[in-house]
Symmetry: C2
Subunit: 228 residues, 2 copies
């Protein structure tokens, strides 16, 4: 098993700010987990006793409302540390994390994160900025959802997915979501999401091939997202 000290993933996250010794201690106790597509990494209401560092694959972070309707609040990126909130506050997790494709993640016991967080100001500062940035994104999402139309948000999501996960040489987005997941992210009904995607296809903005989305007219999508 690889050592954290050599792991390139930490370029994408705050573990980079740890000292050699701290990293080495983590490396000794960490555990690589493989989650199959659809597997729940940890669930709403449960306590997480550690933090996962996502090495490969994509997760959705979601919540259920009182009627069991799912809302996706975030998609993970490579290198994301997840579960730190529950691990640090010892409160039950308010979000559920699910693998959207096969996910490789290193499990780090909570103590090995909490200690550097208290003792290493560089790491603590980096983590603080990350949470601040997540909060900023969440606030933007609130404003986006409540002031923009579903059409705008759908265009926005497509551009976000391209931005975050990239496209292949066919301009096909490198992540496949079900229509239901798309709807849960945009905050609309599945049928509405399907209809809007069909509409985008008819208008030549995107092409659809099963779950694959091909971006055809990025400029027009940007205009749509801005409500023009």
């Amino acid at each position: 098993m690889g050592r954290c000290e050599q792991c390139l993933i930490k370029q994408f996250n705050n573990l980079n700010a740890l000292s050699k010794e701290e990293l080495s201690r983590i490396s000794d106790s960490k555990d690589v987990h493989i989650f199959k597509k659809g597997e729940v990494i940890f669930d709403e209401g449960k306590f997480s006793s550690g933090v996962y560092c996502i090495k490969d694959g994509v997760c959705k972070l979601s919540q259920l409302n009182a009627n069991g309707k799912e809302q996706i609040v975030k998609f993970s990126k490579k290198g994301d540390l997840i579960g730190y909130h529950s691990a640090i506050t010892h409160e039950p997790s308010t979000i559920k994390v699910t693998a959207l494709n096969d996910v490789a993640a290193c499990y780090i016991p909570q103590d090995l994160i909490k200690k550097p967080l208290e003792e290493n100001p560089k790491f603590a500062g980096a983590m603080f900025k990350t949470v601040c940035s997540d909060l900023k994104e969440a606030n933007n999402a609130i404003t986006n959802i409540s002031t923009n139309t579903v059409h705008q948000r759908m265009a926005d999501l497509i551009l976000f997915l391209k931005e975050t996960y990239g496209v292949d040489n066919n301009n096909t987005i490198n992540i496949q979501l079900s229509r239901k997941e798309i709807a849960s992210s945009v905050g609309t009904a599945t049928e509405s999401a399907i209809r809007i995607l069909s509409g985008f296809k008819k208008d030549g903005l995107i092409d659809l091939d099963g779950k694959a989305i091909v971006i055809l007219d990025e400029e027009e999508l940007k205009h749509l997202a801005e409500g023009i």
Copy 2:
């Protein structure tokens, strides 16, 4: 001018975690500002060079979307520290903070917050937990806005306002918002907010007297908020 060391407000926030020396340094440089109702404490896009500790009064934290429509993302509570994100990251503020009534706030230059944040793990940890908690609330708001109806969210807001600001002996909520502000918080049009409030009054859930809201049937409001 009072000294921070004696100030009772810090019981409500993380400044409590500072050492005597840190507090004393803040006390020497701090500045009490009075903001009149409606005054902008700091604006979206601007840099904040310090942090405000809210001693008295209530602020709204809001964002504008591309079309200039306002979304309130949070209401401040007594003791809240605001502006730390911009002060710490040196990025322009993504939110606008406006006084909803007369607000007394102590201005603390950014250095006096940044230093303890790096050197005092107790304070840094407390701040970290606060941002995590804000993030949790923001995620809940996302789920609430996109899965619940405007009626539900209105009932929810009324209960939240009671919970946060309390009621007098008439069961009148201790904070007065304009209909527009209520709408901007719930995420709906002003007319819709007015209509729903009128409906609640007709149904005997609340009473309205100008901007004052009197809670008459809290149980039913709770049911409504939960979508029952």
